[in-house]
Structures are given as structure tokens and as C-alpha cells.
Symmetry: C2
Subunit: 144 residues, 2 copies
């Protein structure tokens, strides 16, 4: 599935909070297996990202339809998507807010990231079919 | 305070989840008042954003030091920052995960946003003093 609402929650343990709607097939899959992989796509994959968000895994094999390569993860059973810039192997850490908000807290148990580019052009969903592309990065000194 | 970890959680009611460390003065202020304003700064305010994150309101008047203009909100007692692109007046909606993760769920009870530009250059914290600037926006059709 395509996921757009998420936040880092802690450095150590490495926690990520995500909204995963219970209308997605992923919702029950993750609740049952207690694990998942979060894959970070880049601009060149934008059309696939939209396509993946507009069909259901209960009807189509998304890896096949979108020509994605599944490679084994090392700490969870779900596969990584090879074409993505980064992959986070996750285990459920807290389900307290799942019933109320479909909000899952995951612990990243293993992270994979491409060695270059340092800052890839990532996609950030604004809603209504609009994505913000990441722009350049700036470093700012911490002194006031 | 400067805040970097947050996510939309729901359209209606309009919910935003945020990590607000209990080492910030804002933590107790928000817990007591049960409200706050989230202000969205733009690139021209980058140095102020860093400065605000590196001092405490228990020692300095940040509005004064950073030459910010406080204007009254309409539904909460905390002020808006006039220089920011958008301001969200918020009330605490759920504190279930505050003790465990410093994670607050807020309801946006009133939103203010500048009429132009449509997509301002916003700042997105990468960590270690590095910010990603928002790049251009692209619209993608939803059909596969």
C-alpha cells in the first residue's frame, strides 16, 4: 500500500508512528503478522506510488503489475522492495491507538539505505493528487 | 518551541499527532492549558527556527528575542505568530500516549493560512542541523 501519514517518534528504540487505514488490506495483514516493511520511493517511482495506492492487493499482485522486485528481509517475513531508496524492517511496538485512529507504532529493527545519492528526491503527499518533491538541503548552525 | 516530529492523523475531526518532549517548557504549558498553536514557518525564518529550538522560554522571551509578533487566536488563549505562513489553533484531543512517548493528539479547531504563495518554501528537519527545503509540487492522475 501507499502510505502518507507518518512520523518519527523516538531515536532509541527507533520508533515510527503511521496511520494505516482499516480499509487497506495491509491493515489486517500487519495486525496478524505484527510486522511490515516501510519502503521509501523516489521521484522516478511516482506513477507506481499512485498506482499502488489506487488498487488492492486482494485483487492484483502489485509486485507483478508494477514491476517491483521483492527481496527477502533479514528480521521480518515481509519482503523489501528492491527499487526503493530505503527499506525499514519493522515490528509492531504499540497498538494502543489502533482501534481509535488506525495508528500503529512500529520499531525499526533493521534499516537499509542506498549509499548514494545522499539526499534523493523523495515524494511527500499534499492530498488531492499533489505531491511535494523534496528540495535542497541546508545546514544551519545551532548557535543563536 | 521548534517541533519536527508530527503527522496528520485524520481529516474530520482534523487531527495532528506531535511529539513534544517533556524537556521542553511547552510540555507542561500544553498539559495544563490543554491547547496550543502550531505555526508553520518558511525558509526566510530558518535562523529563527533554529534559535527558538536552542533556548528556553523559561529564560528568555522568545517573541522579543526573535522579533516575532504575537496576535490573538480566536478559539484558544495561546497567540498566533504573525510572521508564519500558517497557524493552527489546537486543543488536546487525546493524551493516551503522552506518558509513554510524549505524543499528543491535537484537534485543529481553527486554521489560518496565507492566500499566497500557494506552496511556500517550508522547512523539514532531517536531524543534525540539516533541513530539507520543500521543492516543487507535481500533480499526478489517480488512474493506474
Amino acid at each position: 500500500m501507499t502510505m502518507g501519514w507518518h512520523t518519527v517518534m523516538e531515536f532509541s528504540p527507533s520508533l515510527i508512528g503511521c496511520i494505516i487505514s482499516n480499509r487497506n488490506r495491509s491493515f489486517e495483514m500487519i495486525r496478524n503478522s505484527k510486522e511490515c516493511v516501510i519502503n521509501v520511493p523516489t521521484r522516478d517511482m511516482a506513477r507506481k506510488v499512485v498506482g499502488i495506492g489506487n488498487c488492492s492487493g486482494s485483487e492484483v499482485d502489485k509486485f507483478k503489475r508494477f514491476k517491483l522486485t521483492a527481496i527477502p528481509a533479514s528480521k521480518v517475513h515481509a519482503p523489501l522492495i528492491q527499487e526503493c531508496y530505503a527499506n525499514f524492517e519493522c515490528k509492531i511496538f504499540d497498538t494502543e491507538l489502533v482501534d481509535r485512529y488506525n495508528f500503529f507504532v512500529f520499531e525499526v529493527v533493521k534499516a537499509h539505505v542506498a549509499v548514494s545519492p545522499k539526499y534523493p528526491q523523495t515524494l511527500h503527499y499534499r492530498g488531492d493528487g499533489v505531491f511535494m518533491l523534496s528540495g535542497r538541503s541546508i545546514k544551519l548552525p545551532s548557535e543563536v
